[in-house]
């Protein structure tokens, strides 16, 4: 019999009372007591009024889940601290329910050597969530020479990507996949994964939105869906050739989803993510030339959105990522062709998934917590079952709370949310990192 929570009072303990626990084992009504970084007890008693702890967080009507994991964020530090810092980005992440994010390496300087990995790790100390730097596959993300992947894997880097660009050369990508497959012993047993931004630049060059009806009408250069699909196709072939894992970042087209589905059926070691904006917005959003809707890969058609949703539903797509990409207003107020691509995502992702996807909460949490945690090789700390002894990285979600998106209210110094003014259902109430409440009642505590 599990001990009553009241029986384990501890200094610095927090009781999460009245919620429904949801994790990879399903859902059940339970109170959760955490302290010293870990889950102390999970108590299924209906009458939890005698729970005592130093602090009690109300979770009535809420889901108590493992903290969310975002495989794809741009925290802009080092280099563009005017748009975002690790501190503000991690705060936004925690407000969005994330306890872990994977930071992309397209900073200035690029995360392509041990020194910059260490800098990002140092800057992440004390942040509102765990920040795992990914690192570039090639030096300077130029697609030419391999970055010192072993050196960075030794520091804990698990994911390598040239995100913002795909590795254009098939030869370089093949070598990278082969090389990475021999690095697992450096990563503490977790598998190293190469993540690809799929875009054949010869086809996408000059394009600033999806090529199709809207780009033709608006007179803006287009990127055809095939620019993405050709690289998805190539990298599936390279996964077959090398036997190495490939993770496909931000899939945006129906064709890409179909190819990944077929590759998985063929037993190839591929995984994929899709962003919230690629299942909620289409290229018609660009009709007024508002650069907040400029993003890479671009917003696609309704048919593509439907395919992404189907892929999320049937498991073809393993994870929902944000591709959180802050940009200053000055940058976004440039003309459409020269404004930088990207949108904020951390604080809206969960609510968009809950509001827009016709999926049970447990499946959405799988897509946003334990499955991405496994892909990133951080499932020793994140996406764990809610059980005694596990790391207390948790989020408490009120699925019924309605709210209106406002860029002004977000933690980021940037304001480029494409959902300004949209009503969403589902909001993060509390977030705990190593048993410490970093968000209480929707307010960041750090």
């Amino acid at each position: 019999m599990t001990p009553r929570l009241a029986a384990v009072p501890r200094s610095g303990s927090v009781a999460i009372r009245g919620g429904t626990v949801v994790d990879s084992n399903g859902s059940r009504r339970a109170d959760v007591l955490v302290g010293d970084g870990r889950i102390i007890a999970v108590d299924a008693a209906d009458d939890a009024s005698d729970v005592t702890a130093d602090r009690v967080l109300d979770a009535s009507g809420c889901l108590v889940a493992p903290g969310l994991v975002d495989l794809h964020v741009h925290l802009r530090q080092p280099g563009r601290e005017d748009a975002e810092t690790i501190e503000t980005g991690a705060r936004g992440a925690a407000l969005g329910g994330f306890t872990a994010v994977v930071a992309m390496p397209n900073t200035t300087p690029t995360i392509d050597c041990a020194a910059v990995v260490r800098e990002v790790q140092d800057l992440s100390d004390g942040a509102c969530c765990d920040v795992y730097p990914s690192a570039a596959i090639t030096l300077g993300r130029r697609g030419e020479e391999l970055a010192p992947m072993a050196e960075m894997a030794r520091l804990g880097v698990r994911m390598f990507t040239d995100d913002g660009a795909g590795v254009q050369s098939s030869r370089v990508m093949r070598r990278a996949l082969e090389y990475a497959s021999g690095l697992d012993h450096l990563a503490g047993g977790a598998a190293v994964v190469l993540a690809q931004h799929c875009e054949v630049e010869e086809l996408s060059e000059g394009g600033c939105m999806h090529e199709g009806e809207w780009s033709s009408r608006l007179g803006l250069g287009g990127q055809p869906a095939e620019a993405e699909e050709l690289m998805v196709m190539r990298d599936i072939a390279l996964a077959r050739l090398t036997g190495s894992r490939v993770h496909f970042q931000h899939l945006s087209t129906a064709g890409s989803v179909a190819m990944v589905r077929a590759a998985k059926q063929a037993g190839l070691p591929v995984t994929a993510e899709a962003t919230t904006h690629h299942f909620t917005l289409t290229d018609s959003c660009c009709a007024d030339y508002d650069t907040v809707f400029k993003v890479h890969p671009p917003l696609r058609t309704e048919a593509d959105v439907a395919a992404i949703r189907a892929g999320l539903s049937d498991g073809t797509i393993d994870a929902i990522a944000t591709d959180h990409a802050p940009h200053t207003s000055a940058d976004k107020e440039k003309p459409f062709d020269s404004a930088p691509p990207g949108m904020l995502g951390l604080e809206t992702a969960l609510a968009l998934a809950l509001t827009e996807l016709d999926l049970p909460a447990e499946q959405i949490l799988a897509l946003m917590s334990w499955r991405p945690a496994a892909i990133a090789g951080i499932d020793d700390r994140h996406g764990r079952p809610v059980a005694p002894g596990e790391p207390a990285n948790l989020c408490v979600i009120d699925p019924a709370a309605e709210w209106t998106v406002s860029g002004e209210d977000m933690a980021s110094p940037s304001r480029n949310t494409p959902y300004e003014g949209r009503r969403l259902k589902g909001r993060v109430r509390h977030t705990l990192l190593d048993a410490a409440p970093v968000v209480i009642d929707g307010e960041a505590q750090r």
């Binding site: 090529e211 199709g212 009806e213 780009s215 033709s216 009408r217 608006l218 007179g219 803006l220 250069g221 287009g222 055809p224 007024d288 030339y289 508002d290 650069t291 207003s329 000055a330 107020e333 440039k334 003309p335 459409f336 062709d337 020269s338």
Partner: protein, 320 residues
């Protein structure tokens, strides 16, 4: 009097206008063409109004035409031409236009190499915004002067057949012309090689042909687009020589046009590419008329947007 028309603040796209608006602009243009022919071609219709030229892209013809139009309406003009070389690409467009507006102006005429810039400017300021060409998107005053010129020669354009020939994909003139001509009831055919046609024509009220020779005998207007010479380097066509052979209007092709069919071009022409030098001199080539009508059309547009809804006769009475 507003004559029952909705007041318009901006001209960003031909889609901002309905058929009645276009009709009204054509009628106003006729009155202003008469003003232009006077010994002192000037009316006080826009006295006290200030119009700014914000040209991020080089333009001689369009700017001079707007300038002449504003002067004939007695508006004050300020030139804020920014050669692409002198503009710091990092500068926020918004800062620039807000600075200009703070100077107290009534309209900004914008040209930019990127589609949509006039739309963004219109979101940020209260003054009227006129699109003088945005990237590969639209050039509405060009389409209005094309329409006016064609009507002056052909009369009602209902059922008229217009072929727009050449590099449609990269042409702002083509996008505006398709909208303007079809709004007035004409039937438009786009003619060109596939790489020079838009990637998608979904929603475009046009037909498409890759064979100029097959349409020549059936059209009332042969509208030739300027071929950007860099398209050859970009691999859109194998060579300018081959483009000319397939789509250039040489004498033999011009001979096959119906009597009275017009040959139009937005200028400046590439002689020997989209049109042969000897064809340019034919009487059914109305390129010079297009330029001449441009001033009166732009007077009509400026007057419609800035004239406080008064009609022309009223303004003339005021002046008397």
């Amino acid at each position: 009097m507003n004559g029952g028309h909705k007041p318009r603040r901006h001209l960003l796209s031909i889609t901002d206008l309905d058929a009645a608006d276009i009709e009204r602009i054509c009628n106003l243009t006729e009155s202003f063409a008469e003003v232009s022919r006077r010994r002192i071609p000037r009316v006080p219709a826009l006295r006290g109004k200030t119009v700014v030229w914000l040209f991020y892209e080089d333009s001689t013809r369009t700017r001079l035409s707007f300038e002449a139009a504003a002067k004939q309406l007695s508006a004050d003009t300020v030139n804020f031409s920014v050669g692409s070389s002198s503009v710091n690409k990092g500068e926020s467009l918004r800062d620039t236009v807000e600075t200009i507006e703070a100077m107290g102006i009534d309209a900004i005429v914008v040209r930019h190499s990127c589609a949509g810039v006039p739309h963004r400017v219109a979101d940020w300021i209260d003054a009227s915004v006129i699109n003088a060409g945005d990237g590969c998107h639209e050039h509405p005053t060009q389409a209005l002067l094309d329409l006016y010129t064609a009507r002056a020669r052909l009369g009602d354009l209902h059922g008229a057949r217009v072929a727009i020939v050449g590099d449609v994909a990269h042409s702002r003139v083509a996008r505006s012309d398709v909208l303007a001509f079809t709004a007035m009831g004409a039937e438009v055919t786009l003619v060109g090689p596939r790489p020079l046609l838009p990637a998608s024509l979904e929603g475009w009220p046009v037909t498409v042909s890759h064979d100029l020779d097959s349409v020549l005998g059936e059209i009332d207007v042969c509208y030739l687009l300027r071929m950007q010479l860099e398209r050859e380097a970009g691999g859109h066509v194998p060579s300018l020589r081959e483009f000319r052979a397939e789509y250039g209007l040489d004498a033999a092709r011009a001979d096959r046009l119906r009597d009275g069919a017009l040959i139009m071009h937005p200028g400046p022409i590439n002689r020997g590419v989209e049109i042969d030098g000897d064809v340019v001199e034919r009487p059914n080539v109305v390129i010079t008329e297009q330029v001449a009508n441009g001033v009166a059309v732009r007077m009509a547009v400026l007057f419609l947007l800035l004239g406080s809804g008064m009609d022309l006769t009223e303004s003339e009475k005021m002046a008397a």
